[in-house]
């Protein structure tokens, strides 16, 4: 017997940010390869157009990052709750989640984590997104902005240790993003169906299936019992159909 419910996991501003950011980062990666290896990849007509596009995408990502940060910090106020791993997460959560991904998952075991609007990331996601969003992205944005104004910001560059150090930081972080992107997109296909996790990132609603008698049914209960801040955060399948 199955009962399907929808949880409003990802608010609209976050979704807009996410796709803008994703599009921006992919553009940055491709133009970045063009700029570093012009003799290998040259697809934007001229070198200059690759630079202009890279700079533009960089500014778009910087602005959208700032808005994302402000939104999570001040409007939603959930930055710390969502992104900072708790003591429990660090002690056992991450290991449990890794155990699931690399072992249980293959045996068909249940995912120990279930997203609620207040706690939508599993401990591994938290750790990864924390590093990506609060360490690497700011670093790559700052190094990128300095690289756009080398002559006026020369003093800062000298303090950092020269333009080559700066470029190396920028390049290596960009490589980390590319690596993250592969992992990220792949992990996003690990839902009930390969596209299950893409749906909430698109329209906000995640489908939660309660198969009664399922050993991990209890864990889902939380989204039932605890009324989320948003009245409409939980809908039944029927109400969605009616809408």
């Amino acid at each position: 017997m199955k009962h399907t419910e929808y949880v409003y996991l990802t608010p609209m501003p976050v979704r807009i940010w996410h796709w803008l950011n994703a599009f921006g980062i992919v553009t940055l990666t491709i133009t970045g390869i063009n700029i570093r290896f012009p003799d290998v990849l040259n697809i934007f007509g001229t070198y200059k157009s690759a630079i202009v596009l890279h700079n533009t995408a960089g500014i778009v990502v910087s602005i959208s990052y700032t808005l994302w940060l402000l939104y999570y910090m001040f409007v939603a106020g959930t930055l710390a709750k969502l992104y900072i791993p708790t003591m429990n997460d660090i002690k056992t959560g991450i290991i449990r989640q890794a155990f699931f991904y690399f072992f249980q998952y293959f045996k068909g075991g249940p995912n120990p984590h279930h997203g609620t609007p207040d706690n939508k990331f599993n401990p591994m996601q938290k750790a990864a997104y924390l590093v990506i969003m609060l360490v690497l992205l700011p670093l790559v944005i700052i190094s990128g902005i300095i690289l756009m104004y080398v002559a006026p910001l020369r003093e800062i560059i000298m303090v950092i240790g020269g333009i080559k150090t700066l470029v190396s930081i920028h390049f290596l972080i960009a490589c980390c993003f590319t690596a993250f992107l592969f992992v990220h997109i792949y992990l996003a296909t690990l839902g009930h169906t390969p596209l299950a996790y893409f749906k909430p990132m698109w329209d906000g609603w995640e489908k939660v299936e309660h198969a009664h008698g399922d050993p991990h049914g209890d864990a889902h209960g939380s989204s039932h019992d605890k009324a989320p801040d948003n009245d409409h955060a939980v809908k039944s399948a029927a109400s969605i159909g009616a809408a």
């Binding site: 570093r36 700079n55 293959f106 068909g108 080559k164 190396s168 590319t178 992992v183 792949y186």
Partner: protein
């Protein structure tokens, strides 16, 4: 082109030959007699700056071997009391190839040889720094305005003009080299002062071996700067408010001033790949205002931290070591979809029941 050049330097060769055959001495070239008055700053009061000939600058020029009289052959023993205007040789008498090359360029009618060269302080290309060349152009072209007009199409024009002499883009040359120089923060403001090429005096103040400023970097005196010597120097330099500054210079000076179509295309410089950009020199100031170049171990400008930490050309001076590290990081990321994906495919039956 080669032929014409050889033919047109004939007068120079003949003259040098003549000079070599005769018993050449300072007295013979007449320099000393003329300098006795013209190297004295008092003469400026008599008729202006132009009358003064800086003896140290003059002594190192090839022109000093020719002698004052050769170019001012009408000066008589009654000079200066006769009040006669003396002759001045025209550059084209001896530099006809350059003269015709220059006359045919877009700049031919805009400036004369003397606007860019003081005949008493001439230097070959290898003895000047990029900033010296830009100073020449700056006499007529306001650098601030040039940055603005180039900014319309050249990203970071200010950075480009700092790292390229104008002639790198406005004359043609077969090859380009990176010339590094030691720059020092202007005294008075050590925190944010402007960097200017360090003078011989400023470097001599650091007491190099034998007073030879090149020994500040070339520690072992083998006339070749190794990467290790550069690294040591870079490390020392930070405490002394100095930096190494690289500029991309043409290998030969031509006077074919032009607006080269291919300089619109950034990849003329930014895509030549690491190989082409390996040749680099260190230019040390000498005490006559010129520079002496010393070769630097190849690969210095590709070295991330030790070569020229403050000189980087996107697309052409990338470090291979760093590329490998980057590729490894990305390969690490790919392990997830590939490794996990394979296992996932093999174990897909286990999840079917759900």
């Amino acid at each position: 082109m080669k032929k014409i050049h050889a033919w047109s330097t004939l007068p120079i060769v003949l003259m040098l030959a003549l000079l070599a055959i005769g018993p050449v001495s300072a007295a013979e070239t007449g320099n000393d007699r003329c300098l006795s008055c013209h190297a004295n700053k008092d003469i400026i009061k008599r008729g202006g700056e132009l009358l003064y000939v800086d003896p140290a600058m003059y002594a190192v020029t090839s022109h000093s071997a020719i002698g004052c009289n050769t170019c001012h052959d009408s000066v008589r023993s009654t000079h200066p009391d006769d009040g006669l205007k003396s002759s001045r040789a025209s550059c084209k008498d001896c530099h006809s190839t350059i003269q015709s090359e220059y006359a045919a360029s877009i700049h031919g009618g805009k400036a004369t040889c003397n606007d860019c060269h003081n005949p008493h302080e001439v230097k070959p290309l290898i003895a000047v720094s990029g900033s010296d060349i830009n100073a020449k152009c700056a006499k007529c072209h306001n650098l601030g305005k040039i940055v603005k007009s180039h900014d319309k199409w050249l990203p970071q024009a200010d950075l480009h003009i700092d790292a390229l002499p104008c002639v790198t883009c406005h004359t043609s040359s077969q090859n380009y080299v990176i010339t590094m120089s030691i720059q020092k923060r202007q005294s008075g403001n050590t925190q944010f002062g402007e960097f200017k090429p360090a003078t011989h005096q400023e470097l001599a103040a650091f007491n190099p071996v034998n007073g030879d400023v090149s020994r500040l970097i070339d520690k072992n005196g083998d006339r070749l700067i190794s990467l290790k010597e550069l690294r040591d120097f870079n490390y020392e330099v930070r405490k002394k408010d100095m930096r190494l500054w690289g500029m991309m210079m043409p290998e030969v000076a031509t006077h074919s001033f032009q607006i080269l179509e291919n300089r619109w295309d950034c990849s003329f410089c930014h895509a030549s790949g690491p190989k082409a950009m390996q040749k680099s020199y260190m230019a040390f100031p000498d005490n006559s205002g010129g520079y002496t170049r010393m070769e630097v171990e190849s690969g210095a400008i590709l070295d991330i931290l030790y070569g020229t930490p403050d000189f980087y050309m996107m697309g052409s001076t990338r470090s291979t070591a760093l590329n490998i590290v980057g590729a490894l990081i990305i390969a690490g990321g790919l392990m997830m979809p590939i490794g996990h994906g394979t296992m996932r495919f093999l174990t897909r039956k286990n999840r079917k029941e759900h």
